[in-house]
Symmetry: C2
Subunit: 125 residues, 2 copies
């Protein structure tokens, strides 16, 4: 298999992004790609560098727990052009707020768990 730097097959894209080919197709179906993915051989997907960067950002949104439906909303705004920048910003800022709140929550719970761990000190086998 010859790897052109021009574009990636879905398998290469999966390798690159860390997502499965199933997930890549799923994201596309769900409207999360910025633009339709190029096709070669009249049917096989060919991903560009831009696609790699885009999926990378999608992954960051997802890994902070943004639901698919919100990611889709964001994507739609990006597609709608520069005029939506304020709204996009607002969306991301609101998301960040929620994420930070949850981080605090988790951190607090973790502290309680740590205290429990401490209670178990000295009981090593």
């Amino acid at each position: 298999m010859t790897v052109t730097t021009e574009s990636l097959t879905i398998a290469q894209m999966a390798e690159t992004t860390g997502l499965s080919t199933h997930t890549l197709r799923y994201y596309e179906r769900e409207g999360l790609m910025f633009a339709p993915v190029d096709r070669a051989s009249s049917s096989h997907r060919r991903y560009t560098e831009a696609d790699v960067a885009w999926v990378g950002f999608l992954t960051k949104l997802r890994s902070t727990g943004m639901p698919i439906r919100d990611v889709r909303r964001y994507v739609e705004l990006v597609r709608a052009g520069d005029a939506t920048m304020p709204e996009r910003r607002e969306l991301l800022v609101a998301h960040r707020r929620r994420v930070l709140a949850q981080l605090e929550d988790v951190t607090a719970s973790l502290a309680a768990i740590d205290r429990k761990i401490t209670l178990y000190e000295g009981h090593t086998p």
Copy 2:
């Protein structure tokens, strides 16, 4: 309805813990309670202060993303007595490690999102 300080109805327990009555029954079914919940009137649940504390800790485990099945495993260890303290500790420590890794992950993704937000600066409506 007279509120005794002795015990709580499931509705009061839900109020106290922030879980729904459905979830409280679900947790019990799933074997997450330390001991069988007391009953009054031959059938209605009566929760003790100890139950409140216990569910509080369960909630902390859950809010850090520990799967139900792992919580159950932990509960089983607690029920098994003091001899399992080392294993409990190990379980919690491993969980903490995963949670911290994920916190880092989220934090890194959030940073990328922040950079994107910054790009949108100056585009306020």
